[in-house]
């Protein structure tokens, strides 16, 4: 009898155990290894405590590797991931191909209307929101206030490229290893071409005309590159043709750059006294313009999307809604301080006085994001969306090759004319092969 009771209880327990194991859904998340994402991973216990039926599995990768892994997975319908960290480049393309689950039905409390309009429009295709923004960024000018003062100049809130050239020349002090301007020169579609494409927009240039004919043979591209090369040669650091975001960040933090035009997220790194030797001497301004109506700033949002093949769509949505909610922002603020919350996605954050007090760069970040419009990136009309990229699948491959030609010109291995001619040929050849 006793044995029977024991066996009975064991089998009941076993049924419970199997039952609860079956009820638990695993959500596999592919993400990028930057600070904000690592922090999210650290805070995910809060999520699992509130949702014991959802088990989170993380695959954290370096940016380039992540891009390749998620692209391969979604294109081959591999189904490895339930949540993917993707950017504003992937979302319009994948959304159009029907590869992503629409997020229009996230709960009301998630508050889609609170998203910054520019960010929301970058992640929306035909009225459907295909990814939830985790953090957003634009680009702006970061400059050394002490060097600017020493040069006898005052940075306007919205500088022109001519002012940047004048200030860069005035701040350069090569004997002491200080260079007036640091900008990206390292080849890559997400490196020098992100910068140059955004810069070209402010010079009136564009990648393609409305018939998808490449425009590198235009006068606008020539003046963009002439200006960029001239500025970098006269006031840039040596070896600029191999400098990307990280290299320039390091130079700026060491006090070797007078100005640096790059992503707004860098603001918190250059003003952090633990990492930056110039933390208390940094000012911010909008990305420069040429008076033509467009500024040279971009728009990007690292976002969470759910692949259409996922077998845990509901659980994935619950997670995405949590990680991109206002509550998550409050959680980070509570645990790590307001300066560390993921920036650039919600209007409410920029109305929060505590955040504005903790982040001196908040206003400039918001203004930069708001001044970027991915649906009308250039002065002349174009058939594409995206500011520092063209949202077509071929762009990453083409722009990386074009970037190599620009980089070689910056290194002095060829002239601007040669680089532009090669860029035009490469782009025309690839676009023809892609059937445009």
């Amino acid at each position: 009898m006793r044995l029977g009771q024991v066996l009975g209880s064991v089998s009941v327990l076993a049924m419970f155990a199997t039952g609860s194991a079956l009820a638990q859904t695993t959500v596999t998340i592919a993400t990028v290894n930057n600070g904000d994402m690592i922090r999210m991973q650290g805070l995910s216990d809060e999520f699992t405590a509130a949702h014991p039926d959802i088990n989170l599995e993380w695959v954290t990768l370096e940016e380039n590797v992540l891009r390749q892994r998620v692209t391969q997975d979604i294109a081959s319908k591999g189904g490895q991931f339930d949540v993917m960290t993707i950017g504003t480049y992937e979302v319009p393309i994948w959304g159009k191909l029907g590869w992503l689950v629409s997020l229009n039905d996230l709960p009301d409390a998630w508050d889609a209307d609170d998203l910054l309009p520019a960010i929301r429009s970058g992640l929306t295709v035909d009225g459907e929101l295909y990814a939830a923004p985790f953090y957003g960024e634009s680009s702006m000018v970061m400059y050394r206030t002490d060097l600017m003062e020493k040069a006898g100049l005052e940075m306007p809130e919205a500088p022109t490229w001519d002012f940047i050239r004048e200030a860069a020349a005035a701040m350069t002090d090569e004997a002491n290893g200080i260079y007036g301007i640091c900008m990206r020169g390292k080849a890559g579609w997400g490196e020098n071409m992100a910068f140059l494409t955004a810069m070209a927009n402010s010079f009136g240039a564009r990648w393609f005309d409305e018939d998808w004919t490449p425009q590198f043979d235009s006068e606008e591209w020539k003046s963009t590159l002439d200006f960029y090369m001239d500025l970098m040669k006269n006031s840039g650091p040596p070896g600029a043709s191999t400098n990307g975001f990280n290299e320039n960040l390091s130079l700026f933090q060491q006090g070797k750059c007078g100005m640096w035009i790059d992503a707004t997220v860098a603001a918190s790194f250059v003003t952090n006294p633990d990492d930056s030797t110039v933390a208390d001497k940094v000012g911010f301004a909008l990305a420069p313009d040429n008076g033509l109506g467009k500024r040279g700033n971009w728009l990007w949002a690292w976002s969470l999307g759910i692949p259409a093949g996922s077998d845990a769509t509901d659980a994935a949505k619950t997670f995405v809604a949590w990680a991109t909610s206002k509550d998550y922002t409050a959680l980070v603020a509570d645990k790590e301080g307001w300066a560390n919350v993921p920036p650039g996605t919600r209007t409410s954050l920029y109305e929060n006085q505590q955040y504005l007090d903790a982040a001196p760069f908040a206003k400039m970040t918001l203004d930069s994001i708001n001044s970027a419009d991915p649906s009308a990136p250039t002065i002349d009309p174009v058939p594409y969306t995206g500011i520092q990229f063209v949202a077509i699948p071929e762009f990453a491959g083409i722009a990386t090759q074009v970037g190599q030609e620009m980089s070689a010109a910056l290194a002095g291995q060829q002239t601007v004319e040669e680089a532009l001619e090669k860029a035009q040929n490469i782009t025309a050849e690839e676009m023809e092969a892609a059937g445009y």
Partner: protein, 288 residues
Amino acid sequence: MATQHSRTAARVMMAPAVILLLGWMLVPLCMTLYFSFKKYLPLRGGDLGWAGFDNYVRFVTSSAFWPSVQATLIIVGGVLIITVVLGIVLALLLDQPMWGQGIVRILVIAPFFVMPTVSALVWKNMFMDPVNGLFAHLWQFFGFAPIEWLSQASLQSIILIVAWQWLPFATLILLTAVQSLDGEQLEAAEMDGAPPVSRFISIILPHLARAVTVVVLIQTIFLLSIFAEIFVTTQGSFGTRTLTYLIYQRVLESQNVGLGSAGGIYAVILANIVAIFLMRIVGKNLDK
């Protein structure tokens, strides 16, 4: 003597290993061949049908093809020359009796155990960086402007990094050969009044021929597929795009599996041509 029965048994027992090895090589090769005739664009909806020889024609007629073959051959040739010449010098030096010989030998061999990505990062950031690198400081100390290694002397820089990694391998093989040299022969030549240079050219070098052949053959096979050092340092810019790197760009960056696969087949053909050439010219030494 093996009987018919034992030979059959041996074949049966070896079969799993042979089948596994064949599958290991043949499956990827056949898939590459298959995809090279397809218009396969993952971001355009995947398989868009047969492409005939279009991918092959496009790959060779692309403006990037011949420069990439040239860059590949320059890197392989450059690294081979440096590693063989310095390898011989180091092998002869390490063969001399000296204090702390064991430690010196370990230090010389050490670079071979450093991962290619790590060594490329160290060279890029600690030595070749034009602002913070050791070379830049040295140059400035002597009053010169720092060299922008990776952009102004990109191919040479990559050859330098790769040669640094492969030098220990060459040294090790050549040192073994030097140690097997008959000392009496050298002594006899010395007593006959042959100067050191003549002794080196007439006795040591011919003795090292087989070892040099081994070094050249093995290194060529690995160097043809060099990737990590380029990925970390220049990303294929400044004329450092090798054939392997071009294929990577076509498949992963441009997301054109068909075109990249055609490139892969060209790479296999090139590797075989180089291998046959090497076997004919230098491989004869192995028969001696």
